[in-house]
């Protein structure tokens, strides 16, 4: 459940870039606080700046202006090495296209963040199995991603995002490549993780009904600006 302490605080964040002769304001003077433990859904039309904002929060991109404070630390001012450490230890990320490495087994895919974090080999096995247990895929340890369905692949991606025990889970259209039932199952899984692990989840999605069912709050973006940030009405009604 959300607490009063912000996990993420965006303070007048802008991300501008030039594309040919055009000056693009992908994120424009956006301020937003996400309390720790909240499930926030970022909604908006294509090109509204949702994914750019998510990349900024993930530390994959840097803002042109403004501050992004994650658990008291302004990540906009971190060096590239510290930013990599932030991505490794604080953030878990899942994508629309899963982004699993096809030449690796599920176990190896999930183990990858542990390798990057230089976790001892003896600790890795149990942690990988624990993460796969959460997504109920321990029986497919030795399989390759291509041998799995889309929903299963997304569950592996979630296990990979969880294995380093991050405080924030960022999901970029996690149901975009899945049918509605599977998509629901994935969001249900995310909701369970939020409840059981107290994780902060920020999810970019186009699917408002699903967002209203599973998220605590909806933030609507348009032209790089935050249009509204309101509690998910439907969910509260339920």
């Amino acid at each position: 459940m959300p607490t009063a302490d912000p996990a993420i605080h965006l303070d007048h964040v802008s991300r501008h870039y030039t594309m040919g002769a055009t000056h693009v304001r992908a994120v424009d003077d956006l301020s937003l606080s996400v309390p720790s433990g909240e499930f926030l859904a970022l909604l908006g039309s294509s090109g509204s700046g949702k994914s750019t904002l998510l990349n900024l929060i993930a530390g994959l991109d840097r803002p042109t202006f403004g501050a992004i404070v994650a658990y008291g630390q302004n990540i906009a001012s971190l060096s590239s090495v510290d930013l990599a450490r932030y991505r490794r230890n604080t953030i878990g990320m899942i994508f629309q296209s899963f982004n699993l490495l096809v030449r690796m087994t599920l176990e190896e895919n999930v183990e990858l963040p542990l390798r990057l974090a230089e976790v001892d080999r003896s600790d890795r096995g149990p942690r990988v199995r624990e993460a796969l247990e959460r997504v109920r895929l321990t029986h497919r340890l030795g399989h390759r991603p291509t041998e799995l369905s889309g929903g299963e692949q997304q569950r592996v991606a979630i296990a990979r995002a969880l294995v380093n025990r991050p405080k924030i889970l960022l999901a970029d259209e996690p149901t975009g490549n899945l049918d509605s039932n599977t998509g629901e199952a994935i969001l249900s899984l995310l909701r369970d993780l939020q409840n059981n692990l107290g994780m902060t989840i920020i999810m970019v999605t186009h699917e408002r009904p699903l967002a209203e069912r599973f998220a605590d709050r909806l933030a609507i973006m348009g032209d790089g600006k935050l249009l509204s940030a309101t509690a998910a009405v439907k969910r509260i009604a339920q």
């Binding site: 090495v81 990599a84 991505r87 982004n99 963040p113």
Partner: protein
């Protein structure tokens, strides 16, 4: 990332594009093979030359002569003629030189031109006396027959070309006898009668008497040790030094000595051979002998020039051999750049999962290094095989020409290790650009890449 994980991931990545990476590694292997084969030939030739020269006993020997030694008909003296009388190379001088530090032995050069009769046919040749110490110098290794049975035996060892003059089958000469005809020097007694005693009691003249000595042929050798070094050309018949000295055969300096007053009552030598403990001491010893007032000459300078020559030779071979390796490095650059394009999205995923730029850079570095290492290992193996093949081909040719086999190529440990290190180093250098390009990839762009 830990180095074990890096290597693990790098090998896994290389296995994914197995054919392409194997071909690139093969390119490195061919480059290293050409380098190793070239250098192994250089090293082999150097070792061959050094072995031959060391067997000849040239590098630990100093030739000592009186300072005003005749240089030849009509040739100017080497140094300005001094008013002071030059020192005589006599027994006193020999003993004085023998006492110098690091001297093993000092023996006179007994070498004279004479005639040999074999099967009643005359053969003109140069005879040289061999000290007993030359038995262990390595010069007689692999000879047909044996070394002299004793230091004063009436035995002869023939140089192969001379042996071929005597018989079409040189090896069959061992055990046979020949007759050495020489001119013995006999001093005049004070009363004018012939003296049978040593020439040291001479009154200033000697007579020359033809003599004969029967010698048993005990061996045939490829070449005389220190061939031609003493200045009279190669000796073709070798005999024990003591036996040769006892002959009192007339030598080239005898006529010179007879016209000098100061040598009347002394045995003088045309030259002395001084053997040092090792070639390293030759330089100092040569200077000490020169300071005593004698002429001294060693082949140390020639050996230095030889080393310089082979260093330059090896360098040139190395440069030519490296050309193929340089081409192979372009293959590595190409392969890794292709890998970046193919694995662009994967690099993005790695960065999203927390890989630092340095992790990505090191990953590509290790991939280049692994290709270099495997290329190096196979290259050394191919290079060694190539060297063996060249040696084999050369020896087949030499056998057809009735010449002895030689070890043309040599791959010492330092060459193996250097080639491996060089292959890895060159591959890492080749990996610099792709690794840095991969590390600089923007993760957002990389993740978007299809």
């Amino acid at each position: 990332m830990k180095s074990r994980d890096l290597t693990d991931l790098a090998i896994r990545n290389l296995r994914e594009a197995l054919l392409r990476n194997a071909l690139t590694t093969l390119g490195v292997a061919v480059g290293v093979a050409s380098l190793v084969a070239m250098l192994s030939l250089g090293v082999g030739l150097q070792q061959l030359a050094a072995k031959r020269l060391s067997q000849s006993g040239l590098f630990d020997t100093i030739l000592v002569t009186p300072k005003n030694n005749f240089r030849g008909m009509g040739r100017p003296p080497r140094e300005a003629v001094s008013e002071k009388l030059p020192r005589v190379l006599d027994e006193d001088a020999r003993k004085q030189i023998e006492k110098l530090p690091n001297v093993i032995e000092v023996y006179p050069q007994v070498r004279f031109f004479t005639e040999v009769r074999f099967n009643n046919k005359p053969f003109a040749t140069v005879v040289a006396g061999m000290p007993d110490s030359s038995r262990n110098s390595g010069s007689f290794d692999g000879m047909t027959g044996n070394f002299f049975s004793s230091p004063n035996a009436n035995e002869a060892i023939l140089q192969i070309e001379f042996a071929k003059d005597l018989s079409a089958q040189p090896a069959s000469l061992v055990g046979q006898e020949l007759v050495l005809r020489y001119a013995e020097r006999q001093s005049f007694a004070p009363n004018g009668a012939d003296a049978s005693a040593s020439s040291s009691k001479s009154t200033g003249g000697f007579s020359v008497v033809p003599k004969e000595l029967h010698l048993k042929i005990v061996g045939v050798v490829e070449t005389e040790p220190a061939a031609g070094y003493a200045g009279m050309g190669n000796a073709r018949l070798l005999m024990p030094l003591q036996t040769a000295s006892a002959l009192r055969a007339a030598q080239v300096n005898d006529l010179r000595d007879i016209v000098r007053d100061n040598t009347v009552n002394k045995t003088t030598y045309p030259s002395l051979s001084v053997r040092a403990k090792s070639p390293a001491q030759v330089d100092a010893l040569e200077t000490a002998i020169k300071n005593m007032g004698f002429g001294a000459f060693s082949l140390l300078d020639a050996s230095k020039s030889l080393r310089t020559f082979f260093s330059v030779f090896d360098l040139l071979l190395g440069i030519f051999g490296s050309l193929a390796l340089a081409v192979a490095t372009l293959g590595i650059v190409n392969t890794l750049v292709m890998a970046i394009l193919e694995r662009r999205r994967e690099i993005g995923v790695l960065k999203a999962l927390g890989a630092a730029d340095s992790d990505v850079q090191q990953l590509f570095f290790v991939e280049a290094g692994v290709m270099g290492l495997f290329g190096g290992i196979f290259g050394v193996l191919f290079g060694w095989l190539l060297g063996r093949a060249i040696t084999f081909g050369t020896n087949v040719y030499l056998h057809r020409q009735n010449l002895n086999s030689i070890e043309l190529s040599s791959v010492p440990w330092w060459l193996v290790l250097s080639a491996l290190a060089f292959a890895v180093l060159v591959s890492l250098v080749a990996g610099l650009y792709p690794a840095s390009r991969a590390a600089k990839l923007n993760p957002v762009d990389a993740l978007r890449y299809e």
